[in-house]
Amino acid sequence: MNNKIENTLFQCRAINKEFGNVRANNDISINVRSSQIHALLGENGAGKSTLVKIIYGLLQPDSGSMTFLNEEYSPKSPKDARALGVGMVFQHFSLFEPLTAFENILVGLDKELGEKELHASVIMLSESYGLEVNLSSFIGDLSAGERQRVEIIRALIQKPKLLIMDEPTSVLTPFECESLFKTLKKLASEGTSILYISHKLKEIADLCDTASVLRKGAIVGEYDPKKMTPRELGEIMVGQSLFEPKRPVAANKSNKVLSVKINEVKPDTQFGVTLKNIDLAVYQSEILGIGGVAGNGQEELMQVLTGEKKDRNVSIKYMDNDIEMLNPRERREIGLAFAPEERLGHAAVGNLNLLENSLITDPKKRFQMKMGFIDFSELNEYTNEIIEKFNVKTTGVSALASSLSGGNLQKFVVGREIGQKPSLFIVNQPTWGVDALSAANIRQAIVDIANTGAAIILISQDLDEILEISNKVAFLTNGNLSIPTNTMDIKTDEIGAIMGGISD
């Protein structure tokens, strides 16, 4: 025990923070010891971000105290925090795109430092911690991993004793993750403590020495992730037992449901991704997982598949019919169903109630009577059915979609589509921002319809999700799709190479 206290670098005691009626942080106390990687684990909305914003001086706590290096610590701003030795790398980068990597580091400095001197220390840092960055490149031209390295250098140049990393792997390929982990381990071994925020259980087990688990704004406890399975940790995180959906039994190779061939499709805006050389097929009772880091063409591919974007350079065959020129409604009528990534404003509309949101996709015209009049009793019944089956928490069918939490709305959207009993279901990011239990339920529902004969295309940035339930996987890199392989045959290091665009 004595040893522990001696080693304490940072400590917070009984931190409270309220936003309106919501208690984001409720009596939170944690102890970060020196030279340790300390995980802050919790679901979306558990209060992780609020806590680290308080530590970094972006928010002030309502009550509670903090000590850092055995002295009272109450930063009024991030500048205070940096001056005292706390650095932070944000999930969403705060870099200036028109400036070079080096200029970004330069403008981020609190103290004046000679350009030459700075250059030398940046080179030294990047060499000793494996943070490879071409300093003269413009940020706009760098990949997410490189941008993150710029941010890390920018934080390290201030020589922090405590470095806060907010969900750093959410934008990285597995390959980039590994090199990040090496950097972090080296930093820790040299005396910098790291507060590592994540909800990815596997990486926490690999990387962290201690894990403080947050649930609903309060600390559940402190655990040693090396001595627990990710599943045990996950159950502590959500506060209930979890089940793992099993991938569909086997694909029926003889029944091809959909094949897609894309030579080249240019994006509508200059920020979009050009889709190239895509060749995929999906069979009955099969889940084809499409992985990849965000912004590599997922959105564009989804639009081509739904029919929101039609293009002559695309050939889509659905059960021997060419459907590339059909619009989304016509595609639904022959048995396809879609759930795009963006819930509010695309898959569903916040200003409309749940009944009206059910009407958005009505492939079988079951909510229509003769001459296009709406059949409200059927619509009511169907909407209630979705709410019940998918355990959507809401006040009822006349609740506005915007009143539902993100996870509940996602359950509603997936339920709405699955309820139409599609022969082919194409879904993008089905469990993004959804709590672990609901996520497992959604995955199970997807597996269930595959087991009854539907073909599924599952686009997801959650690699674990894809590996868990897909029969085959392919990866999107820069608008290119790798050749689909059996999930059972693929090795993790291969995935990293494919996603990083190393093998072509």
């Binding site: 739904t306 029919g307 929101e308 619009n327 989304p328 409604r329 016509e330 595609r331 639904r332 879609f338 795009p340 963006e342 404003g345 695309h346 898959a347 569903a348 509309v349 916040g350 200003n351 409309l352 009206e356 009407l359 958005i360 996709t361 909510f367 229509q368 296009g372 009049f373 709406i374």
Partner: protein, 359 residues
Amino acid sequence: MFKLIPRENVSPVLSLLGPLFSVGLTMIVGGILFYFLGVDPFAAIKMIFWDPLMSETFSTYSIPQIFIKGAPLILIALGLSVGFKANVWNIGAEGQYIMGAIFGASFALSLYPLESIVIFPAMILIGVIGGCLWSMIPAFLKVKFQVNEILVSLMLVYVAEQILALASLGFLRNPDGAGFPGSRNLNQYTSASNAEIIAGTGIHLGVLLSLLLVIFFYVLLFRHSLGFKIKLLGNSPKASGFSGDNPNKLIFLCLTLSGSLAGLAGIMEVAGPAGQINIDFNVGYGFTAIIVAFLGRLNPIGIFFAGIVMALTYVGGELTQFMLNLPAAAIQVFQGMLLFFLLSFDLFVHYKIKLKGNK
């Protein structure tokens, strides 16, 4: 400074109270205005809102007049409301109203003095087409070149007014009219006259149609899938595309409906209460209908009541003009205030105000 923050829950009671509240405030502020114009504010307000309905001297004339003035307002507002729901902002109904009248009247007058029962329905149809064609110009430019329909439809009002002047002084001028501007009076041309359907009241077919169309639009918007598509487009073009709708078709539909109804109102007016095409034929129904649409919360039933209230201010306003010598412009200010207060009230229904600190 102040900051507006959207409310999470918009109270339905408050949003229904809006129109009543704004009518009330308009009475108060309008009363103050009338006071400074040297008129007894209580007498003026009573004359606008009470006398047309209740006074024995005026009501036998006024009540049918309310429906006659309300009919074009309701017809036009119904069409506009559909577009407004879809975020299609046709504010040029005044022009479409004029063109409906010119098209229909030109057709009928070109056949004068031929009598046939076909002429009347054909004239109505051609009036509707006239209004519709005029609204197709902004529709086409919006869909094809992404030109803002607000500007185009508004500017076309002034073009229509010039065509109206041209017609009154030129191609439709009454050859037997001793050189005065204005066309032949359609009420004196039996086959083309939009005659009264209840003797002695002046109530014409357009009044009946406006009531029937209220029901039609109610069903269309709340019971039919087309109404839903329009609402979906207005709320989220992306979700509308995901649903499989073609936004361009819906934009055309909205402008077709609003243009056609404005055209219908125009031909009903020129063949009925107005009687002839003349330079001063249009009196601003197309613009006032925008107020009616919003005052009625873009709901057909609401629009019916809003149209009646607005017609009341016209009829009552006329009364104050010749009884109390209030200038016509004062009445227009009065009507404008209604929309102003309604929109202001809406702001507070949908947003709360927060005082910003010094930060």
